[in-house]
């Protein structure tokens, strides 16, 4: 197994506000890690540090792969949905390192790659639509295509299941499982019940990071990790409930 990146005693945050403290972690090829934790616990800060968007306050981030070899799917609410851009251009922007001077090249390979990804996700029909006209599920598919343009060795996804219907959520996770055969995946989700069905390991981020070497995690473990979570279980999506408790279709626990 190839080591893709390592984080050593890393602290990070915004201005004077430390969000992550003394976090260490390693990611290997073949990994499928679910990052869980409460809102404001530092999940997004962690991946933004990995992507180089936030400079660490202290500690080290060592990438063993090139930065452009990390595919990134940001939170959908970070995207300006009224921006005048079409689906095909969003996808092609995934190969942005070839964008400089691209006006004078044919870019055939890049265009073909984009088209084949759109076809693979079943959204070729919307290739010329402005992104503002897409549904939540279509939008996430487009951003997944963009993240895959560079054929990354590591795919980082920040809440890819927000604003999507249950059908697509299931489909998305199956797709990720398939992609995991070619690349490592780091997935942020608020929905620990659903992701634990698909991921191989779980890391709980709440100012600190606790790495849990399997995808089954109990409430007691979560509590001992100091990882308060709201857990919602849905009707039809396959999911592992943390531990057996008395089940209703839609319920919520706060720890």
């Amino acid at each position: 197994m190839k080591k893709l990146l390592e984080i050593k005693n890393l602290s990070a945050g915004y201005d004077d506000n430390v969000v992550l403290e003394n976090v260490s972690m390693e990611v290997y090829s073949g990994d499928f890690i679910g990052l869980i934790g409460p809102n404001g616990g530092g999940k997004t800060t962690l991946i933004k540090t990995i992507l180089g968007l936030i400079k660490p306050i202290s500690g080290e981030l060592i990438l063993h792969i090139s930065k452009t070899n990390i595919g990134y799917l940001p939170q959908v609410n970070q995207i300006d949905k009224r921006f005048p851009i079409t689906v095909i251009d969003v996808v092609r922007s995934g190969k942005a390192d070839s964008a400089l001077f691209s006006s004078f090249r044919k870019n055939t390979e890049e265009k073909e790659k984009a088209e084949s990804l759109l076809a693979e996700m079943g959204i070729s029909a919307i290739r010329n639509k402005p992104i503002g006209e897409l549904s939540g599920g279509q939008m996430q598919r487009v951003f997944l295509c963009r993240a895959l343009m560079n054929e990354p060795e590591l795919l980082v996804l920040d809440e890819p299941s927000t604003y999507v219907d249950n059908n697509f959520e299931g489909e998305l996770y199956l797709k990720l499982k398939e992609l995991n055969e070619q690349m490592a995946i780091l997935l942020i989700s608020h929905d620990v019940g659903t992701i634990s069905f698909f991921v191989k390991t779980i890391a709980c981020v709440n100012r600190n990071l606790h790495y849990h070497p399997s995808n089954i995690i109990s409430e007691e473990q979560l509590a001992s990790y100091n990882c308060p979570l709201q857990i919602i279980t849905h009707g039809n999506i396959p999911h592992t409930v943390l531990k057996l408790h008395d089940e209703h279709d839609h319920h919520e626990h706060t720890h």
Partner: protein, 273 residues
Amino acid sequence: MNILIELFTYDFFVNAFLASLLAAISCGIIGTYIVSRRIVFISGGITHASFGGIGMGYYLGINPLVGAGIFSILSGMGIQLFSSKGKVREDSSIAIWWSLGMAIGIIFVYLTPGYAPNLMSYLFGSILTVSTGELWLMLALAVIIILFFTFFYRTILYISFDEDFAKTSDLPVNLFNYLLMILISLTIVLNIRVVGIILILSLLTIPQATANVLTREFGRMMVYSVGFAFLASFIGLLISYSADIPSGATIIFTQVLLFGLVKLIKMLSSSRK
């Protein structure tokens, strides 16, 4: 029609015609960038801050547009600096530079002995008095902008759409932000004579709003914006000349009418479907 041909025999009218064409090119393209990236308010700040340079130009006896250029570039940088390093909220930072520039301008115009010639034309524009020298500068700017946006079309598009993602792809995001800020400043300064400081924001936003009714694709929006900006400027120019009313205000009024017309047509045609 004969009157129109006759108008083109006047040098001042030919100049005004060329000014409206060149203004449409620079404002159409730069305005699309500004609107798409939602930095209209920053652009308003830069525009008004440039008045400080006009006042200083009068006081020091240099070309007010040179002063305006310096002030607009500095304020563009200043706004970014205040909000990124000084931890001032961005909209507050814009307001500070906006009003500081205006204040400096007013003080220096007051201190300038005698009468400040053409002051009103800087505030409200005067397309009929644009000089040949200014036209050459506007032409140079239009060419630079066309080349820059053609060469780096995708880079600009990707950075504008999702700056964070562009950074993860190793695009030179900061360099481009900086270069585009300079182009915005130059566009504003060189078009001050056309519609004036008070009204220039309209050339950077209304044609784009009109274009946006018809397209939601960055490149097309630029081309349509240039077209609408030129159409409205030329019609506005004709109306202002024949009715003998201020050109800048008439051009803006025509821009808004054109927007309303296109919007109406679009609404009627889509309701018929």
